[in-house]
């Protein structure tokens, strides 16, 4: 089971600052292990973010994104107390959904 995401959401002026850290190996499929065997690709492909039930961002992700990827952006028209729901799916079909509340 995948580790939980770290989600930080905080009002800053008229917008909420949202930062999401997913815990994921983000293997490219191009690396080799110690014995010279290729390490299979294993990476997050999509990350969706909803605030108060509305989709605000949909990330599509490739292998050029770092291990334990961090995503951050701002959302207007939301308020403290709104629920943030983030959900990723990786290339093996694993998925993880976590929630936070805007501070």
């Amino acid at each position: 089971m995948a580790s939980p995401m770290k989600i930080r959401a905080r009002m800053n002026g008229d917008a909420a600052q949202i930062r999401i850290l997913a815990v994921h190996p983000m293997e490219t499929g191009l690396r080799k292990d110690g014995a010279g065997k290729p390490i299979p690709a294993h990476y997050v492909q999509t990350l969706t973010v909803d605030v108060a039930g509305k989709r605000v961002a949909r990330y599509e992700v490739g292998t050029s994104v770092s291990k334990n990827p961090l995503f951050g952006f701002r959302v207007r028209g939301v308020k403290a107390g709104d629920k943030v729901v983030a959900s990723w799916v990786d290339n093996k079909g694993d998925t993880r959904t976590d929630e936070a509340v805007i501070e």
Binding site: A57, V65, L70
Partner: protein, 156 residues
Amino acid sequence: MNNTRRTLLKAGTNGAVLASLFAAGILRPVRVLAADPRRAAFEATGLADALRGLSAGTPAESADLVLKAPDIAENGAVVPVEVISNIPGTTSLSILVDNNPLPLALHVEFSGGGVTETVARLKMAKTSAVRAVAQAGGKFYVARHEIKVTIGGCGG
């Protein structure tokens, strides 16, 4: 290596070649028309193919598209970048690393109050230009930044 895909990429936008491939039964349409239209762009091994996969054509330079990135990255495994689009009507942003084996790093679409900016952390195999592409009202814009990498981050 998936030879069918290579053939398809080489065929590019040449409809006649594609049609003949379909006719020959080499390509199954169901695979080509996958649910995610940008997956091919993510699997493209060259910058030109990746840009074509985004349908970005030749994007225009814009001073309203800001790409903040370091000039030198000591560790190519984690290179922080930030993209801010002040272009009115921006709907999506993409980030590409020119010299990576698979250049397209991420693509994000905003809706419902999402501000068109993003931070991300990239892997960089070697010194390269990084480019941000913004889509606004059917037009594409680009901003570039050269990053010198002292230790590559794509393994091997």
